[in-house]
């Protein structure tokens, strides 16, 4: 058994393990959210807010910056002024820090940055772990220390903070994103006195003495010339030379104090190994397990773990290798296309060459390099074994890949998936749950219960969905008598739990089940009736694998005690009962303690409900007597309909089914281009209730369709249909339109795409005269309507949309008659952002390019497997791309520049070719009015005509024009992103793009918080709101982005809130699009982070406006030209106190409970903010402006000066 009884253990994840040390060893912490490092910043902020001191007894100063670049700059300054500084980052965030990192290293400044390493975006963004970010920073001159486990993430954080002081070289401490940062494991904590001892006060004071001070001034940051720069650069060499020794000395000191020993390179395995893997990071755990198994079988294998990657000590490296070495495989968790090998491989080759040449290593072994684990791709013992097998071959493959099947370049190694090192005395449990049911929370609690309260070791790792609504979670838990370093997913579980019955028909939850495993199923069917309700495929696995099947109706128990959808406590109790890790009584007592710890602050009622759930859980748990044969006719559903296009069948379907790992390289696009309009093929069917239309009271307002965040309730207006053509259940009513009498309309739900958010019902204004609660749209149980609505929806899809030329696009009803080209996104149910995007797609989807900043909108907009941006019947649709978080405005401007250039060039060519294509056509094409749908339609026809005429022409100009002809049709560029982008990280670029005066449209989906990374404060966060990084309530008011933009004079600005004024939102989008200069529309977007019931998303927007918290306005530079005033306030003067609006949102109301005094003061100021702003806007409404605009706007307007006119030469007066 472990040393658990003797030593204190804590159960934490890698982020917390590292952050605790960083916070304790720092004075200034500059933070910025980025996955997967955000929790480190959040913890540091929360600890400082709670007054937790550092080792010097002071509370570290934590400041959120506008970007990682800003954080690095602030830290550079903090370091120059003598503070101990740290930050936390990953991926693109680290890349933004690189310029300052060069400076900080060049100035030999002691600091540590902690990195949860993550893939750098290339053909796609990925939030998952690999080393591409840290490898991009390896030339900065920072020491780089790699941690391969949660324990090491803590311990090496200490080593980094202590070593940097001695070495004066800054340290980048990194560990694998998610695999280590988010893995919960049992570790021995570093006690405070150990940390206190490790941080040498003399060195801290020396650091301070080197600081800039007017009391003993020096100059740093000089500019140097060819004469000295080079020499100065070399002057720092001795510090790098000594750093490895400093680190080893520090590691040794740490070992003396804690008993945990680390080395620059740690070898483990057979002492006379002939085949060795060199590796860095979490994958080492899987290799070590493999080695243990292989050495028992007599194989001479080992692994060398690299801990100090920079400065790379070639001598220490060679010294750590067994002399018997014959073949070495270097595994890199990154890809450097075009290089002779990946970075670690190259270092190893260089080191061995030098060491062999110097006679310090006996002979050059065979060295091969390979890539593994990009973007958290699984790396498990079967893969490690395949690498060792490869090393044993006479001609092993170099530059290989492992963990994928590469049928294009044939780099991949073959893997024997049956190889497993999972020992039988480890409980290996896999749980399938929904995000909303609390499965992960319960499992985290179970890991902590076992890790903290028993001598057993525990590990928890959690796999989340790429969708936010109805998200699937898979939890992988291990419990065992030895420290758990299985850094890969559970593959042969001896316990499987499926917390949602309906998962069975969509995914193979028993694929991971080992023989004889226990299978806990949350089932509405009791033990005697459940069998026939299981898909045949599930039944077969239960029989074949000899599983023991248990059922519990967790939902029933949860309902009885008032927990609703949170079935976690019930199932957690059942897990403990079945897993047999603790005896029942103790387990129940421990679960209750954990409940008290998690929920104690939330009051007695919450505790009592959960206690009741624990007490009642086991009454409902039953073992099913498994029949010997399958029964019933239920089968698993195919991931996509057989009618889906080929790519979806071949590729997307596998991803949906959770089998993306099996896709070969050849299946994937080479450049990251994917078909659009794929979300509609992934029928997730996650709603329990769907909206059902009652045509009798409908008033044709189209609001339900307008506000639907998921495009799952739609309106169509159409010519009457013969009764026998439509399904019997298909409903319609007469469309009330005097100009176009006789048309029909219908409102249709997409039953399998609806999330059941209820926003449509909330906004429906049509109430029954007899029974007010009955509206024209009502949420009703899906099961009762599914069959009919599926048929209705299929028929509905076949009804052609109207000709856009006949529709008043810039109106609520008109826009809603048009097809949405953004549908069924994976956004949260009730999302406040997506209705704007859907509206945008309806109004202009056939001609827009979208530059989308990283954030929620790029995730629900572009996260595979399926994406919502769609294609219309004419094949046209939004072309969408995401560049980065920080550069989105510039990215969109680039699109505009390209389009404009192509259009200009096309017009020039047209002029040249006028006689060949026909002067009339050329003329019309060049002077076409494209301000209306009809104008655009006609121009498209002309372009088609032009292409036909150009086809036979063979001149260079004709070929050019043919390739550029489409540019003659007006395109609209939309730059879309959230407030984190627009107000903070991307503001500089956004401002610059506005200043160019070019025709771009910027849509800011303003949730007033960094939504995608979990609710950190941005400069859009209003005063008094609680957010991460502002846990005590935001102290200052939100930035007025609209006014900053309006200050330019020639920028169209709209501040809108769809839920408050539908028509104003539609109008603002239309005006922004039609203004041929820069436009900004700032759209108030309700978000789950506001702490509201999202079904009332739109109502909240109404109150935000009514209280003056979010005034609606439009600033239209064209008004000036009409002799009007450009600024127009669209909302009415505030008619309710801001406090009444804020009282309904938890982001404000929580503070009232937590810190009533501050809340009262902040609320008073929030009211003053609203009143002051309203007063300011009222005055603006009377202000005239006459900005002259760009030179191009004037060309051809004014008379040119007469040629003979003398221009006055400038002369001094």
């Amino acid at each position: 058994m472990s040393q658990g009884a003797a030593k204190r253990h804590v159960t934490v994840d890698g982020n917390e393990a590292a952050a605790r040390i960083a916070h304790a060893a720092s004075e200034v912490i500059a933070i910025y959210p980025i996955t997967p490092s955000s929790p480190m910043g959040e913890l540091a902020d929360a600890w400082s807010t709670a007054g937790m001191p550092n080792v010097w007894g002071a509370v570290p100063e934590v400041v959120e910056m506008q970007s990682e670049g800003g954080a690095a700059g602030a830290l550079h300054g903090g370091l120059q002024a003598g503070a101990m500084c740290t930050t936390f980052t990953a991926s693109q965030g680290l890349l933004l820090m690189i310029p300052n990192m060069f400076k900080i290293a060049g100035e030999l400044t002691s600091t540590v940055f902690h990195v949860a390493s993550r893939a750098v975006a290339t053909h796609a963004l990925s939030i998952f772990g690999d080393h591409s970010d840290v490898m991009a920073a390896r030339s900065t001159g920072w020491a780089m220390l790699a941690s391969s486990s949660v324990q090491a993430a803590q311990d090496l954080a200490v080593v980094a903070h202590a070593s940097t002081l001695g070495a004066r070289v800054p340290f980048l401490h990194f560990f694998d994103g998610f695999r280590t940062s988010h893995e919960i494991n049992v570790i021995e904590p570093v006690e405070d006195d150990v940390l206190r001892t490790m941080i040498d006060d003399h060195l801290v004071r020396a650091h301070r003495e080197r600081a800039l001070s007017p009391d003993h001034p020096v100059l740093r940051g000089s500019a140097q010339n060819p004469d000295v720069f080079f020499q100065a650069r070399e002057a720092a060499n001795p510090f790098y030379a000594i750093t490895p020794a400093v680190v080893q000395w520090t590691m040794d000191r740490f070992a003396e104090l804690t008993g945990r020993s680390y080395h620059l390179f740690d070898y483990s395995g057979h002492p006379e190994a002939e085949r060795v893997i060199v590796q860095m990071g979490s994958g080492v755990g899987a290799v070590q397990e493999t080695i243990e198994r292989l050495t028992v079988a007599g194989e001479k294998v080992g692994v060398l773990e690299v801990r100090l990657f920079r400065p790379f000590s070639t001598q220490a490296f060679a010294a750590a290798l067994p002399r018997t070495l014959k073949a070495l495989a270097v595994l890199d968790r990154t890809k450097e296309p075009g290089a002779p090998g990946e970075p670690l491989y190259q270092d190893v080759v260089t080191a061995l060459t030098e060491e062999v040449a110097a006679g310090r290593f006996p002979a050059m072994p065979r060295v091969i390099g390979g890539r593994y684990g990009l973007s958290s791709k699984e790396f498990d013992p079967s893969m490690a074994k395949s690498v060792f097998d490869e090393l044993a071959k006479p001609a092993p493959k170099n530059h290989f890949t492992v963990g994928i099947y590469d049928d294009v370049s044939h780099t991949s190694l073959e893997v024997d998936r049956s190889f497993s090192t999972e020992p039988d005395d480890v409980v290996r449990a896999v749980f399938y749950g929904l995000g909303a049911d609390g499965t992960v929370s319960a499992n985290k609690s179970s890991v902590k219960i076992i890790g903290d309260a028993t001598d057993l070791f525990a590990q928890g790792y959690f796999v989340y969905d790429s969708k936010k609504a109805g998200a699937l979670t898979v939890s992988h838990l291990r419990f065992g008598p030895r420290p758990i370093r299985s850094t890969y997913l559970v593959r042969r579980a001896n316990f499987v739990a499926c917390h949602q019955f309906h998962f069975l028909e969509r995914m193979d939850v028993l694929e991971v089940a080992g023989r004889g495993a226990r299978f806990l199923l949350n089932s509405p069917y009791g033990p005697d009736e459940v069998w026939e309700h299981l898909p045949v495929e599930t039944q077969r696995q239960v029989i074949d694998k000899e599983l023991r099947l248990f059922v519990v109706d967790a939902q029933k128990v949860a309902n009885e005690v008032g927990l609703g959808a949170r079935i976690n406590t019930v199932l957690q109790t059942c897990f403990f009962a079945l897993a047999g890790i603790l005896d029942q009584e103790e387990a129940i007592a421990r679960i209750k303690q954990a409940i008290e710890k998690s929920y104690g602050k939330r009051g007695k009622a919450v505790l009592e409900m959960n206690y009741a759930a624990v007490d009642k859980a086991l009454e409902g748990l039953h073992e099913v007597i498994v029949p010997k044969t399958v029964a019933g006719g239920l089968h698993m559903l195919p991931p996509v309909s057989p009618e889906a296009p080929d790519f979806l069948q071949r590729v997307t379907a596998k991803m949906i089914a959770g089998q993306g790992d099996l896709l070969p390289v050849s299946a994937l696009p080479v450049d990251g281009s994917f078909p659009t309009g794929t979300a509609k093929w992934e029928k997730r069917s996650i709603a329990h209730e769907i909206p059902i239309w009652d045509p009798d009271i409908c008033i044709d307002c189209a609001k339900c369709s307008l506000v639907c965040p998921h495009a799952a309730i739609l309106m169509k207006v159409f010519e009457p249909i013969a009764a026998d053509q439509a399904p019997g259940s298909f409903q319609h009513k007469e469309w009330r339109d005097r100009e176009n009498p006789g048309l029909w309309m219908t409102i249709q739900v997409a039953p399998d795409d609806c999330t059941g958010c209820g926003v449509c019902v909330d906004v429906c204004p049509a109430k029954s005269k007899e029974e007010v609660r009955h509206k024209s749209i009502n949420m009703e149980p899906k099961a009762e309507h599914l069959e009919a609505e599926r048929a209705n929806f299929a028929f509905f899809e076949g009804i052609a949309p109207p000709d856009k030329r006949d529709v008043k696009v810039a109106s609520i009803k008109g826009s809603q008659m048009l097809e949405p080209l953004f549908e069924f996104s994976g956004a949260c149910a009730g999302c406040g952002e997506t209705p704007y995007l859907k509206l945008l797609s309806q109004m202009f989807g056939d001609r827009i390019l979208i530059a989308n900043a990283t954030g929620c909108s790029s995730i629900y907009g572009g996260n595979l497997p399926t994406t919502p941006w769609g294609v219309g019947r004419d094949g046209r649709g939004p072309a969408w791309s995401n560049s980065l978080f920080e550069d989105n405005a510039e990215f969109g401007l680039g699109m505009r520049l390209a389009i404009d250039h192509q259009a200009t060039h096309a017009r020039e060519l047209l002029a040249e070719l006028a006689s060949e294509v026909g002067p009339d056509l050329a003329d019309e094409l060049r002077s076409a009015d494209q301000s209306t749908e009809a104008g655009i339609h006609d121009q498209r026809k002309r372009v088609a005509d032009l292409k036909r005429r150009l086809e036979p022409l063979e001149s260079y100009e004709a070929r050019e024009l043919l390739s550029l002809a489409d540019a003659l049709v007006r395109k609209s560029v939309w730059i879309v992103g959230g407030d984190g982008w627009a107000y903070d990280i991307g503001f500089g670029g956004l401002d610059h793009v506005l200043a160019t005066g070019r025709d771009v449209n910027i849509l800011v989906l303003d949730t007033q918080v960094y939504s995608n990374t979990g609710g950190q404060a941005s400069k859009a966060t209003p005063r008094g709101a609680v957010a991460k990084f502002a846990t005590g309530g935001k102290r200052i008011g939100r930035k007025d982005l609209g006014m900053i933009a309006a200050a330019y004079g020639n920028v169209y600005v709209g501040q809108v809130a769809m839920g408050a004024d539908n028509a104003q939102s539609v109008k603002a989008l239309a005006e922004a699009e039609s203004w041929h200069g820069p436009s900004v529309v700032i759209a108030y977007s309700t978000c789950i982070e506001h702490g509201i019931d999202m079904s009332t998303s739109m109502t909240h927007q109404g109150e935000a406006v009514k209280s003056g918290f979010w005034p609606l306005y439009r600033y239209d530079p064209r008004h000036e030209r009409d002799g009007d005033l450009p600024f127009q306030l669209d909302s009415r003067p505030p008619s309710m106190p801001v406090r009444d609006f804020q009282a309904k949102e938890a982001r404000f109301a929580m503070l009232a409970r937590s810190r009533p005094r501050e809340h009262a003061e902040l609320q008073r100021l929030a009211q003053a903010d609203a009143e002051e702003r309203w007063h300011f806007y009222e005055q603006l409404a009377g202000v005239e402006r006459h900005p002259p605009g760009r030179l191009e706007d004037h060309e051809g307007r004014a008379e040119p000066p007469a040629e003979e006119e003398e221009v006055e030469p400038w002369a001094p007066t």
Partner: protein
Amino acid sequence: MGADLRTRYLGMELPNPVVPSASTLSSRIDTLKRLQDAGASAVVMQSLFEEQIEREGLEIHLVLERGTESFAEALTYLPELEDYNIGPEAYLRHLELTKRELEIPVIGSLNGSSPGGWVRHARLIEDAGADALELNVYFVAADPDLTSAEVEQLYIDLVEAVRSSVEIPLAVKVGPFFSSMANMARRLVEAGADGLVLFNRFLQPDIDLETLDVDPTLHLSTSEELRLPLRWIAILRGRVDTSLAATTGVHTWEDAVKLLLAGADVTMMASALFKHGPEHVTTVLDGIRTWLDEHEYESVEQAKGSVSQAACPDPVAFERSNYMRAVVNYTSPYDWRAAPSEPRA
């Protein structure tokens, strides 16, 4: 001046019969001090709502859990704060502070929903230093299966349970909706109530004619509403041996005097104080004093109950549906002719 304003309420000797009733006026210490300075003889604290505490806890729980552990980039959406002050602690701390800062008696007020909760919170209020406790019982018996006898028994059980768990004087504030108010009053007193507070006012539903939403609101009372407590205090005075407090509709000194005459030991006001400010207490007290002096009453005690049902010349008037008399009065040709434009006194 002359008349002695002292009165006894719940066994406490109070300098006068004007007490601010349970309302948000008691949420700020400075307001409470102004009330004391204006002459309030005691103060009833805002109610501790057990149901509200529970609901707030559940709502915070719901909000903090919503959307969590679903999406890898955002495992939570709102920060976990140090404390949400769910539970009675904030109320009790405020009560302790009030007790420290004021010289006049402080009466705690409790509005509960579960038997356990009533007893637990009553004790906590006592421990926080309240001089007395007012149980504010309100319950809409909407269930057709629930008989009036069962409803009444709920009240009795409750009062007995709380009585047996606290030492301080206990007042029970109830609504008028009992088939037999007088019998109920006596049973409440037998169950352990030291006083009755007649009557409570709670949210009443309203319908918004635009949205057709049902909106429970609380409007400030008017003097008109004092007729109901006036009747029942007059009836109960002398019949049930207990302290009687009148609340609802007490706005002016005239209102207060009427209630005292009917038999109230104290008169409680809130709406008038919201309208006119805490200093309105002084105006009311001055008015009471002046009236007593002008009508040559020596003291409140002397006037108290002098027009109760038992003491008045026309006892039936309190029981009669006053409608007949009112109709006669209003239709009297004499009145119409005599003072066509005079407001009726």
